[in-house]
């Protein structure tokens, strides 16, 4: 038997021991994390970041609980800020969040603000979806609207909403089933049983 054999045995033993200790510590940490009592939700929590090396959708950046979308020239097009978590799913290329504010910048022809309880950005479909009662207002005048469900399409930059539309401008209020806000054309279209009257 070679005199090196005991050294090899000792080395193997040490490696096995170190591995066991590492796995034990890791398991303990995982258990500790799972049992952690959640604190009060922070006003602005950190978003789940894509894994290092994982490509983010073109033009998108996640920072804190905020998504920014920039055009190829780097100009800011819109932002989504969450008062809760924003979570990025790298597999489905989606970002989901709650209690969000969507803001179209001045780069848009008709800048507006949206507030929505439920938000989802689908970067494969290139749409943002706002749900469960969306309120919006144009930042360049007094127009405002409410709608149950709203979709923003990247390519057209249009906001297309459906269900329980209420659109107000100045002293007037219009109700309808559907709404399309077209910033490029600087027009708002309501359709489906439109009713327009002066507010009382």
């Amino acid at each position: 038997m070679s005199k090196h054999v005991p050294l090899i045995v000792v080395a193997v033993f040490l490696l096995v021991t170190a591995g066991a200790i590492y796995l034990g510590v890791r398991h303990a940490n995982d258990a500790s994390d799972n049992n952690e009592t959640p604190g009060p939700p922070p006003a602005l929590t950190k978003a789940v970041q894509p894994a290092p090396g994982q490509p983010t959708p073109t033009g998108m950046s996640l920072e804190g609980a905020k998504i920014e979308q920039r055009d190829p020239q780097g100009a800011l097009e819109w932002t989504v800020t969450a008062h809760g978590d924003l979570e990025f799913d790298k597999d489905s290329q989606t970002v989901t969040g709650r209690n969000v504010r969507f803001e179209m910048t001045d780069k848009a022809q008709m800048p507006c603000l949206l507030d929505a309880p439920v938000f989802r950005a689908d970067y494969d479909a290139k749409v943002l979806t706002f749900d469960e009662g969306v309120t919006g207002r144009m930042t360049s005048n007094s127009a405002a609207f409410r709608v149950n469900h709203l979709v923003f399409t990247f390519s057209t930059q249009k906001l297309v909403g459906s269900g329980g539309v209420r659109f107000s401008q100045g002293q007037y209020l219009a109700t309808a089933q559907n709404i399309v806000v077209d910033p490029k054309a600087k027009k708002v279209r309501l359709s489906g049983g439109v009713r327009f009257e002066k507010r009382r």
């Binding site: 008709m110 144009m138 360049s140 005048n141 007094s142 127009a143 659109f167 401008q169 100045g170 002293q171 007037y172 219009a174 309808a176 600087k186 027009k187 708002v188 279209r189 309501l190 359709s191 489906g192 049983g193 439109v194 009713r195 327009f196 009257e197 002066k198």
Partner: protein, 185 residues
């Protein structure tokens, strides 16, 4: 005799328009319904299409229907500056009771368009315009009183354009044709 009838007819028409004008000054609620509404951000205009209908309620009741209706709002969007109904436009209005307790229904149409401007308070029915003034109550006890058109059961106007100026209480019919129906004694 003919000139007397013409004067009486004009006086009667002025009374009807005056009655409408008086009612316009009071609060009036307007509801517009349509299939679609396009709001133009730049010009502050509204385009209603698909069975556009305006219903006015309040001191008097009026209804206007048209395939499409364009409305111009004030910059503050607190009042309607003008509207244009694209033809064929149908317009009905029921006046308040006059001094004799008679209410009249005005039924008007225009093949091309109807316009209203708030500053001038002028309503124009353009292109093959017609207007009928009909007493709402048709019983013998409530027969129209007075002379000329005031006594008429029904008056039918046709013309290229019918203009009602609610400020000056004038009704103008261009290229006019007038038919008066009176009840035989």
């Amino acid at each position: 005799m003919k000139s007397k009838l013409l004067v009486a007819a004009l006086v009667s028409l002025l009374l009807v328009v005056a009655a409408v004008a008086q009612q316009v000054k009071k609060a009036q609620n307007a509801v517009i319904t349509a299939q679609t509404m396009d709001y133009d951000w730049v010009n502050n205009t509204l385009d209603f299409t698909g069975n556009a209908k305006v219903v006015l309620t309040g001191p008097y009741d009026a209804t206007m229907t048209a395939p499409s209706l364009a409305v111009k709002l004030s910059p503050q969007a607190d009042r309607v500056l003008s509207f244009v109904g694209a033809g064929p436009v149908n317009f009905t209005l029921t006046t308040k009771p006059d001094a004799n307790g008679l209410r009249r229904r005005i039924v008007a149409t225009a093949k091309e368009q109807a316009t209203y401007t708030d500053d001038t308070q002028i309503i124009k029915l353009i292109g093959g315009a017609t207007a009928d003034l009909l007493p709402v109550a048709t019983t013998a006890d409530n027969a129209p009183a007075g002379e000329g058109l005031a006594k008429a059961q029904a008056v039918h106007f046709t013309g290229q354009t019918i203009t009602a100026n609610l400020k000056t209480n004038k009704l103008t019919v261009d290229d006019a044709n007038l038919t008066v129906e009176t009840k035989a004694q």
